[in-house]
């Protein structure tokens, strides 16, 4: 019964919070409207996430977010230097293949998004069976190092978050 009314409690909480942040107001009216959205949207969108994985590792998620934010700052400076101080002919940009151990579509989506957000790498495509990710690197003299870093730094942590 409770699953029917509240199919995704975390999403309900998240939507309510986002609504309160949008209106920047914590009055009773805003809370009620936020809760209304938080109840209705999960019920309406439930068909779109039939087998959603359950996340039981809040510490892991927080650690992952912090590492990604840090990497974004570092990699931004690296890529800015590549753009400003390297001639195009010296840039070894190439496609690389990342074999995936993650299977949940949600986990792969997070990994692909992370790879794009950390500058210097853009995830370009997924293999048709969802078991390899095509990544374009702006400057990768050593492709294996990039693959190892992505697998060790991001995929390993995501495997602990998505069981």
């Amino acid at each position: 019964m409770i699953r029917r009314i509240l199919p995704h409690p975390a999403l309900t909480l998240m939507l309510t919070l986002v609504w309160l942040m949008l209106v920047q107001d914590a009055g009773l009216g805003s809370i009620l409207l936020g809760l209304f959205l938080g109840f209705v949207i999960p019920i309406l969108t439930a068909p779109y996430w039939p087998d959603r994985p359950r996340l039981r590792n809040p510490v892991g998620i927080a650690g992952f977010v912090l590492i990604v934010l840090w990497d974004i700052c570092i990699a931004n400076v690296t890529v800015a230097r590549l753009v400003l101080f390297r001639r195009n002919a010296d840039l070894q940009s190439r496609f690389i293949t990342i074999p995936l151990e993650l299977t949940a579509p949600e986990a792969i989506a997070v990994l692909a998004g992370t790879i794009t957000l950390t500058p210097g790498t853009v995830s370009a495509d997924l293999s048709a069976d969802g078991r390899a990710l095509l990544v374009h690197c702006l400057h990768a003299p050593d492709p294996d190092a990039v693959i190892n870093e992505i697998k060790d730094r991001y995929e390993r942590r995501l495997k602990e978050i998505f069981p």
Binding site: V18, P119, S123, S127, R131, H136
Partner: protein
């Protein structure tokens, strides 16, 4: 606002604007479409991030309020920027790249965008 507060806000704005400038410059300078895709992904992270932090600091100093809209903008950008980049690169792959130009997938199926290519 005191002078030192204005200096802090200005510093964040300059950092953000600087990365935005480098991102736009990269869009012109880099050689091929895939490499050009790297430049805007940078502008949306640290470039926009710097301006947003500057905006939050300004709100805190000027009105003494804590503004959370900037956090939401960051959240929405981080959700949408990778999707845009992936769609642009998929269109590029679809229109100009042959299967032989890409590394093998390592699985028995080809890349999804080129699955139906002869």
């Amino acid at each position: 606002m005191a002078l030192w507060q204005e200096i802090i806000v200005a510093a964040f704005l300059i950092i953000g604007g600087g990365f935005g400038l480098v991102g736009s410059f990269g869009l012109i300078k880099l050689a091929d479409p895939m490499a050009r895709l790297h430049a805007p992904t940078k502008a949306t992270t640290l470039g926009v991030g710097g301006v947003l932090i500057g905006s939050m600091v300004y709100q805190a100093f000027a009105d003494g309020t804590f503004s959370v809209h900037e956090l939401l903008i960051t959240l929405f950008l981080f959700l949408t920027a990778p999707v845009t980049a992936m769609l642009i690169s998929k269109v590029h792959l679809h229109q100009t790249i042959r299967k032989s130009e890409l590394p093998p997938t390592g699985t028995d199926r080809p890349w999804a965008t080129l699955d139906k290519q002869d």
